[in-house]
């Protein structure tokens, strides 16, 4: 890419130079504004409690209190909540690939009679805003006796029209000759899906994993309704109940816990940037 909106000639004009300088400064201020609260969460987690409440706030800690992290780790049963969150993430991912993946494969590649009908039956749910049926959804789970169980997350994970659409579009792009060849060689459709479609679809599964991970990691409200005993809380729900709403918790410990909760998603983001940029552009098509 040689040029953008501006050409090298534009930048030689003094007026444009000043505007460009202001623009660069604006971006620099934006970057600082973006990073400051994140860095402060980390440094506040390393300060002593009185130091956090000094005015004006200091950036770096004067003394580094690493013990805040071990105190934070032991303040609530983080490993239990972490385990619950990972459980929900893995189960949801499995259900997505199994239930939605098979359906997407069938509609994209097998095309049985009336599959268009099923396709619209699934897609129609995209137009119904999730908040509008949140309460009957809760009532439904209660009537099915699924409250306070992981199944209340795992089973509905198979009812996501958006993820279905992403996989269906991806399968559409795989050359059908591969499946024809497999069929001629006597492979069943299930073998085709597991041995051909799944390995070829690693990029879309990676994107879906990131979506499902971030939902499992970030969602605090819905799990707080569905799970009502402490041993079943997800990480975000537990943080909301015991850290954000805590009255007598030291700010330094609070920030150390918040920092620990923030680190995994940041690492996932930095490690999987390529997939995330793709997944962001996919959200534009989301309903």
């Amino acid at each position: 890419m040689e040029r953008g909106i501006l050409s090298p000639a534009d930048l030689r004009k003094p007026g444009n130079k000043i505007v460009y300088g202001i623009m660069v400064l604006g971006i620099a201020i934006m970057a600082v504004t973006m990073l400051y609260p994140i860095l402060m969460t980390m440094f506040n987690g390393l300060k002593s409690n009185p130091e956090i409440n000094t005015f004006p706030p200091k950036f770096f800690p004067t003394t580094w209190h690493w013990e805040n992290f071990s105190k934070g780790w032991n303040y609530i049963a983080l490993p239990v909540f972490l385990k619950n969150t990972v459980f929900i993430f893995l189960g949801n991912l499995f259900m997505t690939i199994l239930v939605l993946g098979l359906a997407a494969f069938s509609i994209s590649r097998i095309r049985v009679p009336y599959s268009r009908l099923v396709y619209f039956f699934i897609l129609l749910t995209l137009f119904i805003p999730a908040t509008s049926y949140m309460i009957p959804n809760f009532v439904n789970l209660k009537q099915l006796g699924l409250l306070n169980s992981y199944w209340a997350f795992w089973l509905p994970a198979g009812a996501n029209a958006y993820y279905f659409l992403l996989m269906k579009n991806f399968f559409d792009g795989i050359h059908p000759e591969i499946f024809e060849a497999a069929r001629i060689d006597g492979a069943s459709e299930l073998t085709s899906y597991l041995k051909i479609a799944v390995p070829l679809s690693v990029p879309i599964f990676a994107t879906l994993s990131i979506f499902i991970f971030s939902t499992a990691w970030n969602d605090w409200f819905w799990p707080s309704l569905v799970m009502h005993t402490e041993d079943k809380y997800t990480l975000a729900t537990a943080i909301y109940k015991y850290v954000i709403n805590a009255r007598s918790l030291d700010s330094s410990i609070k920030f150390s816990i918040l920092f620990m909760v923030m680190v995994p998603p940041i690492f996932v983001f930095l490690g999987f940037q390529k997939f995330i940029v793709r997944s962001v552009s996919l959200t534009a098509v989301k309903g």
């Binding site: 973006m34 994140i38 005015f55 000759e177 459709e189």
Partner: protein, 310 residues
């Protein structure tokens, strides 16, 4: 086995652009597998999506009681919510919130995307910095910004340099909603920015070259090339933002529980409180039905647009 239709290379396009294909299927076995693969999804969609949606409509006419059983009450739930003055207050608050997100937040990612696309150095860094807040979990966001907005927090320290008296951004009713909008803009604009950035970078460079040769200045290039080229994307994002912000309740609930004096009681939060604080699921579902009717119209418009664009 002979195939009558071969498809390929339409990855990334919407399902609607794909013409319906009639395929000659010669194998009963293949059809059996095809139906077998669809069954789990159909069952789960019925039980966990269509059933709640239909129950939502039905229960809006019922008094939902888990112990004594549900009783039909006709339009009582609707009469009850329409007689609750908080309904109109919550609609007003929601519209105010949507308005604030438009004037404070909507243009930011567009400007940022155009600016970042012009960076010669550190473009990758600027992208990461802008997107990073988006991966911060909601609960961390609330803890972080409660401190940022504290009367002795960093924002007041900065304003203090200009001689502004400390402001309680969150608990002062005049600033509560605006503070939530700034917090959410901080968190979310990076994701919209990346979408716009992809749009800006996909505009052919020679259009600018041609415009420059014809004597168009920098601003007219932005006004007559960049923005028109992104028009449909901007409108789509606008509709998505309206659909999203009209359902907002989590920040309002977590930071203020709808207070102070109900100034952050949005419509969705009002619904949630009916159901989970007053345990009146009938009235809660009735509110959900009303929301569905209003947002359904927007959803159809967005679908029509998606159909044209992708």
């Amino acid at each position: 086995m002979e195939e009558s239709v071969v498809t390929s290379g339409n990855r990334g396009t919407g399902p609607e652009t794909e013409p319906q294909k009639v395929r000659r299927t010669s194998s009963w076995k293949k059809n059996m597998w095809g139906y077998l693969f669809l069954v789990p999804a159909i069952v789960i969609f019925i039980i966990f999506l269509w059933l709640p949606i239909l129950k939502g409509i039905v229960y809006s006419f019922y008094n939902v009681d888990f112990v004594k059983g549900n009783t039909f009450v006709g339009l009582d739930n609707y009469v009850k919510i329409f007689n609750n003055p908080d309904l109109w207050l919550s609609v007003k608050n929601t519209l105010y919130f949507m308005f604030l997100t438009l004037i404070i937040g909507f243009w930011v990612p567009i400007v940022a995307a155009i600016a970042i696309s012009e960076l010669k150095f550190f473009q990758g860094f600027a992208r990461i910095a802008a997107y990073l807040p988006f991966v911060v979990p909601g609960v961390v966001l609330y803890g972080m910004w409660r401190w940022m907005y504290d009367p002795v927090g960093p924002i007041n320290a900065l304003l203090g340099l200009f001689g502004v008296e400390p402001i309680s951004f969150i608990s002062d009713g005049r600033f509560s909603m605006i503070s939530i909008v700034f917090m959410e803009t901080w968190q979310q604009f990076g994701s919209a920015m990346l979408i716009y950035l992809a749009g800006v970078l996909s505009i052919p460079r020679d259009w600018y070259e041609a415009a420059e040769i014809d004597g168009a200045g920098v601003w007219s290039r932005i006004k007559y090339i960049t923005l028109p080229a992104m028009r449909s994307l901007i409108v789509l994002m606008l509709i998505l933002q309206i659909i999203g912000t009209s359902q907002a309740y989590q920040s309002q609930l977590a930071l203020l529980d709808g207070g102070p004096n109900k100034v952050t009681l949005t419509y969705a939060l009002f619904t949630v409180k009916y159901a989970f604080t007053q345990l009146d699921y009938g009235a809660g579902t009735a509110l959900g039905v009303l929301m569905f009717i209003v947002l359904g119209i927007l959803g159809v418009i967005q679908f029509k647009m998606n159909r044209e664009d992708y």
